[in-house]
């Protein structure tokens, strides 16, 4: 089966006055149809910019300077703005962290949803579009959608607003949804509800999902595969179960150790010392060198290439494969 999205060596750089910020520098991964891929990283790791690049939403001074983004056989990076327009919200859609920012506060939910349908299907009648919008709201678990779609965004609670934006993202039955921190702003019980709806919808519609988040535990619960980003590069990717149970890159290991867990209560967390280096001024060699316990001379001089360690796992670390994984 051919992947629905293939990102090959994507490079998105920002040309600022202070210098070139390599926000995304050589990212490659695939998403198959109906698959949930978790893209995990800390702030400044480039995970959101990767998502924006796929959507063609990178604004100046940012620019995709290299690589290909193949979506169903077409290169998104080379598309004209018109082509992108017909793709966005139609075959690929996006869900953002803060639904208050993505919904228009002065339009009724209904107006916004009908607009999104008509933008991609000018032949559809208004009543048909309304019916589709209503069904979409019902699908994400909003009760009494007929009345609720007459409401304005501020009349919804945070969790409900996020459901509305999920409904809008699903309107045109996209093949791929990019969700950028969709549950970060929500409370635990509401987060559970939203994840539950997303899981169910993606299973029913066979929509592929790229779930961008900093929360490793959320990804562990929903993703089929995981990509861990650090300073603009994917340092480790693989199937979720084996990656979580046996992380190979020192950064992934540190990240896992940083998450409080019931099993290790009372013991100090395994922290990663230091902090993320400035993207303006990355060290030569591996970007993780100043925080890594296993650093060697080789790490200082060369940028590690992805190493295939089997079971569809790739790791960017020179130490992997040279010694038994501990």
């Amino acid at each position: 089966m051919k992947p629905i999205l293939q990102i090959e060596n994507l490079q998105t750089h920002f040309f600022t006055k202070a210098g070139v910020v390599k926000a995304v520098d050589g990212v490659s991964f695939d998403i198959n149809a109906g698959e949930v891929v978790g893209l995990v990283g800390e702030s400044g790791s480039g995970k959101s910019i990767t998502g924006f690049s796929v959507m063609g939403l990178v604004d100046a001074p940012g620019k995709i300077v290299g690589g290909r983004i193949m979506f169903q056989g077409e290169d998104i990076a080379a598309m004209s703005p018109q082509q992108l327009q017909s793709l966005r919200g139609n075959r690929i859609s996006m869900i953002f962290q803060d639904p208050m920012m993505t919904l228009n506060p002065v339009l009724r939910v209904e107006t916004q949803m009908v607009e999104a349908i008509k933008a991609h299907d000018s032949m559809i009648s208004k009543s048909e579009a309304r019916a589709r919008a209503r069904d979409a709201l019902g699908l994400v678990g909003i009760s009494a959608p007929e009345e609720r779609m007459r409401a304005y965004p501020h009349q919804f609670s945070g969790g409900m607003r996020q459901r509305v934006s999920i409904a809008i993202a699903m309107l045109n039955r996209p093949d791929l949804i990019i969700a950028d921190e969709p549950t970060t702003a929500l409370d635990v019980t509401i987060q559970g509800q939203v994840i539950h709806e997303m899981q169910r919808l993606c299973e029913v519609t066979k929509t592929a999902l790229l779930w961008i988040t900093h929360d490793l535990a959320v990804v562990a619960g929903i993703a089929d595969r995981i990509c861990v980003m650090y300073a603009g590069r994917v340092v480790e990717q693989g199937p979720i179960a084996s990656t979580i149970s046996q992380p190979l890159h020192p950064y992934t290991r540190g990240l896992m150790g940083s998450v409080p867990s019931q099993n290790r209560r009372g013991q100090p967390l395994q922290q990663i010392d230091g902090m993320v280096p400035s993207l303006l001024n990355l060290p030569s060699g591996c970007a993780f060198q100043n925080r890594c316990a296993m650093v060697s001379d080789k790490c200082l001089s060369e940028i590690p290439e992805p190493i295939d360690v089997g079971e569809q796992r790739l790791v960017r670390c020179v130490n992997v494969g040279q010694e038994p994984a501990s």
């Binding site: 800390e42 540190g254 902090m275």
Partner: protein
């Protein structure tokens, strides 16, 4: 042993005063009522010296209001916060110095126009805890305690990263040698790997200076890791309080169970979420009886009518749920 902090029947109401038009309409016979939010509703608990008490709850449950009242930033509508300071400390110092607060946002909680040295030493100099000429070494020592380099003293807050700023906030709080630290979502704004650093710092500081923490967070994973005892709040009330072991092993209240079930966990792996239905009700118009009954799968007619009281199930484990009455008549 006498608890270091005793909170009894503490309540805080926020009232939205009537505007002019509503007042005028009231004059001509309309009956407009002031809107009242019971942010914290009759809350009582005690904290032992050296204990870390975690307060969890979702937005609007009153956990931050409670923390602010304990820290003395807000004055309670009714009830009391009693603090039992160690006798050895100078007793003529204001009580407020014994409790310090560490805030969520390390960007807005530090004055951007002050140097680190002044941020840390302002309070102790004002209260006469240190002399002005000791300023330099004192600030350097404080920075060292929280794991920062002492040659950063002359810098401004914007020259630090989020995690470092949070450390400065902690150093500022420690500068007046408090006994109780109220941490209100103190790590929520930080990245995962930085969170771990700050959590470890909190634990280390407690051991070094016998501090007591009130640790407020919405993140149950963090609360589980750090707390000795957990208080679960829902819409202004305590629904359950328990030592950490029974909180994890035998959670009693349906809300606590729902919360624990909803936490994403690394060790569980891929799974189906089975969330509790419904939303958090508006605190302006909370449900009658037990606040949780519209979302509770076990709700009965009694839950709508009557608010359950906290009842001790086992040593130190209290829960406010009518189901417990039926289980043991």
């Amino acid at each position: 042993m006498k608890p270091i902090l005793t909170v009894s029947n503490l309540s805080k109401d926020f009232t939205k005063p009537l505007d002019l038009i509503a007042k005028l309409l009231n004059k001509v016979g309309q009956d407009n009522k002031e809107e009242v939010v019971h942010a914290v509703d009759d809350v009582s608990f005690a904290v032992q010296r050296g204990e870390i008490v975690g307060i969890v709850g979702e937005s609007g449950c009153g956990k931050s209001t409670l923390g602010r009242m304990v820290a003395g930033i807000l004055s309670p509508t009714s009830g009391s916060v009693e603090f039992d300071a160690e006798q050895t400390k100078a007793s003529d110092l204001p009580q407020a110095l014994q409790t310090q607060m560490i805030f969520q946002d390390p960007f807005s909680s530090l004055n951007p126009r002050k140097r680190v040295i002044d941020i840390i030493t302002e309070a102790p100099i004002f209260h006469g805890l240190i002399a002005r000429k000791q300023k330099n070494e004192f600030a350097a020592e404080m920075l060292q305690r929280v794991g920062l380099d002492s040659d950063t003293l002359q810098r401004y807050p914007h020259q630090f990263s989020g995690g470092q700023r949070q450390r400065i906030g902690i150093a500022r709080a420690l500068a007046v040698s408090p006994e109780l630290l109220v941490c209100d979502e103190s790590i929520a704004a930080l990245d995962v790997s930085i969170q771990a650093q700050i959590i470890n710092l909190f634990v280390r500081l407690r051991d070094e200076f016998t501090l007591t923490y009130l640790f407020i967070s919405h993140d149950i994973g963090v609360i589980e890791h750090i707390s000795d005892r957990v208080i679960v709040m829902y819409l202004g009330r305590i629904v359950e309080t328990a030592p950490i072991s029974s909180f994890l092993q035998t959670p009693n209240h349906p809300y606590t169970k729902a919360l624990l079930a909803g936490v994403p966990r690394l060790e569980v792996g891929k799974r189906e979420y089975e969330p509790v239905s419904g939303e958090i009700p508006s605190p302006l118009d909370p449900p009658t009886g037990c606040h949780f009954h519209p979302r509770c799968p076990f709700a009965s007619e009694r839950c709508q009518r009557e608010a359950p009281l906290l009842r001790e199930l086992s040593a130190g484990h209290f829960s406010a749920c009518h189901l417990n009455d039926e289980a043991q008549p």
